[in-house]
C-alpha cells in the first residue's frame, strides 16, 4: 500500500517538475504507438471493408485467421521480427533493429489483426443495412467501400482505440526488437519492466500511473475530436 501511495506521489512529482527523462520516454511511447496505429489503420480499415463487401472463396478462412491472430503472442511477434531484422535475417540490410522503426513494425503486426477484426464486424453490419440501397444505386466497389468507411467512422474509431490500447501497453515485442536502450528505444512499458527488475517499485508504479494517464488522455482526446456520444450523430 505504501508503494502504491509512494508511486502516486512520485508520478505527480515527475509530471509537475517536468522531468526531462519522463517526457522523453513518454514522448517516444506516443511516437511509436501513434505511428504504428496510423500505419495499421491504413492497412486494416480498407482491408476490413474489402472483406465485408467482397465475396471470395477463402473469405471465411481469412476472417477466422484474422480473429485468431487477435490473440497473437507479442513475444513471438517480437522474436520473428527480431530474426527478420537481425543482421543475418532477410531484412538485416535495413539496419533498423534496436531502433524505434523496429518497434513500430512489431506493433503494426500485433495491432493490424485486432483493428481489422473489430472494424470488419462494424462494417459488415453496416453493409447488411446498406446493401439493397447501394446495389440499387449501382455504386462502384470503391464508392461502396468509401461510403461504408465514412458512415461507420465512429465504430472504426473504437477499433482504432482498441489498437492504441494494445500498442501503448505492449512490452514483450518492443523489448526484444527495441532492446530498451536508454535515450534510443526506451519507452514507458520497458522502463517499468526495468525499474521493477531493479526493485524500484515506487518509480515503476509512478511510470505505470503516467502510462495509464497518457492512455486515458489520448482516448479522451480522440473521442472529443471524433465527436462521439453526441445526440443525433454517429
Amino acid at each position: 500500500m505504501v508503494d502504491i501511495w509512494s508511486g502516486i506521489t512520485q508520478a505527480f512529482w515527475l509530471v509537475l517538475t517536468l522531468d526531462a527523462e519522463l517526457f522523453e520516454i513518454a514522448g517516444r511511447s506516443l511516437y511509436v504507438t501513434l505511428t504504428a496505429l496510423a500505419i495499421a489503420c491504413l492497412i486494416s480499415l480498407p482491408l476490413a471493408a474489402l472483406i465485408a463487401v467482397k465475396r471470395f472463396r477463402a473469405r471465411r478462412l481469412v476472417i477466422a485467421v484474422l480473429n485468431a491472430l487477435m490473440g497473437l503472442p507479442p513475444v513471438v511477434v517480437g522474436l520473428i521480427v527480431y530474426v527478420i531484422l537481425s543482421r543475418s535475417g532477410p531484412l538485416g540490410v535495413l539496419g533498423v533493429l534496436f531502433t524505434p522503426a523496429a518497434m513500430i513494425i512489431a506493433q503494426v503486426i500485433i495491432i493490424v489483426p485486432l483493428i481489422t477484426s473489430i472494424a470488419h464486424q462494424s462494417i459488415r453490419d453496416l453493409w447488411q443495412e446498406y446493401h439493397d440501397l447501394l446495389i440499387s444505386l449501382n455504386v462502384t466497389q470503391s464508392q461502396k467501400i468509401r461510403t461504408l468507411l465514412w458512415d461507420s467512422r465512429r465504430a472504426l474509431l473504437t477499433a482504432a482505440l482498441a489498437g492504441f490500447g494494445r500498442g501503448i501497453g505492449e512490452v514483450g515485442a518492443i523489448m526484444i526488437v527495441g532492446g530498451n536502450i536508454d535515450h534510443a528505444t526506451r519507452v514507458l512499458t520497458t522502463a517499468i519492466a526495468l525499474e521493477t527488475g531493479k526493485g524500484e517499485f515506487a518509480l515503476a508504479l509512478a511510470l505505470g500511473f503516467v502510462l495509464i494517464g497518457l492512455a486515458v488522455a489520448v482516448n479522451l482526446a480522440i473521442h472529443w475530436l471524433g465527436q462521439t456520444e453526441r445526440e443525433g450523430r454517429w
Partner: protein
C-alpha cells in the same frame, strides 16, 4: 435516350430449387403508373427487383430500348423499409448526386430544393435515422427522385404509414408521374392501387395472373383469383 418499351421474356427467379417468380412475359410502355398487386408472398418484391436488376434472373431476359447499363442509370428504387444512410437529411439527399460526380455545392443546393418540395426543409441538419417513419419514406422518395429517374420502382412505399403520410407520399408520386417519371409500385392496399394505377399487374404465387388497364381490372377482373382478391377473400 429512351428506356421503353421494356420487354421481359419468360423471366424467372428460383432459390434453392423453389420457384419464387415466373415465368413471366411482359411489355411495359413508357408512361403512367403500373401497380403490382397481390397478397403477401405473391412475389411482388422479387418481381420488382428482377425488373430493376438487383435480383438475379434464374431464367429469361429483360430487354430495354437502350443498353442495360444505361437503363439502370435512369432507374431508382424505394424500399418498403427505407434505408437511411447514417448521415443528415441533406447528406442523404445529396448522396446520389455526389456519386454521379456533382459538386458538393450544387448537390446541396438541389438537395435543399428537394427537401422543401417534400416538406423536410426544417429537418435538413437532423440525422436521418431519427426521423419518423413517414418522414424517412419521404426522404427516401426524394433521394430516389433527385436524379430525375425515368423509371421509379416502389416496393409497398406506404406500408405501415398513417393516412396523412400516405397522402403526402401519393401527392409526391402523382407529381413525379406528371413530370414524366414512369412508376412501377407494388402494394396490397387496393385503395392506393385504385388512386394511383393506370394499369395493374395481379400476381399470385409468383405468377402473373392478370395484366390490364386499371379501370378494366377494377370493374371486371377476368380471372377468378383476381375477383376473389378484389372481394377481399383470402387467396393463396
Amino acid at each position: 435516350m429512351e428506356l421503353f418499351p421494356m420487354k421481359a421474356c419468360a423471366i424467372e427467379s428460383r432459390r434453392r430449387g423453389q420457384q419464387l417468380v415466373g415465368p413471366i412475359d411482359l411489355t411495359l410502355e413508357g408512361q403512367g403508373a403500373t401497380v403490382v398487386i397481390g397478397p403477401n408472398g405473391a412475389g411482388k418484391t422479387t418481381f420488382l427487383q428482377l425488373l430493376h436488376g438487383t435480383a438475379r434472373l434464374s431464367a429469361g431476359r429483360i430487354d430495354w430500348a437502350c443498353s442495360t447499363e444505361e437503363a439502370r442509370h435512369h432507374q431508382a428504387f424505394v424500399f418498403q423499409r427505407p434505408v437511411m444512410l447514417r448521415r443528415t437529411v441533406l447528406e442523404n439527399l445529396s448522396y446520389p448526386l455526389r456519386l454521379r460526380g456533382v459538386s458538393k455545392a450544387k448537390a446541396e443546393e438541389r438537395a435543399r430544393d428537394w427537401a422543401s418540395r417534400v416538406g423536410l426543409a426544417q429537418l435538413v441538419t437532423r440525422a436521418a435515422t431519427v426521423l419518423s417513419g413517414g418522414e424517412q419514406q419521404k426522404l427516401a422518395l426524394a433521394r430516389a427522385l433527385i436524379c430525375d429517374p425515368k423509371l421509379l420502382f416502389l416496393d409497398e412505399p406506404c406500408a405501415a404509414l398513417d393516412g396523412r403520410a400516405m397522402r403526402e407520399i401519393e401527392t409526391i408520386l402523382q407529381e413525379a408521374k406528371a413530370a414524366g417519371t414512369r412508376l412501377i409500385l407494388s402494394t396490397h392496399d387496393l385503395g392506393q392501387a385504385r388512386r394511383l394505377a393506370d394499369d395493374v399487374l395481379f400476381l399470385l404465387g409468383g405468377r402473373l395472373h392478370e395484366a390490364a388497364p386499371a379501370e378494366a381490372f377494377f370493374n371486371g377482373p377476368e380471372t377468378p383469383q383476381a375477383r376473389a382478391f378484389l372481394r377481399g377473400d383470402i387467396v393463396e
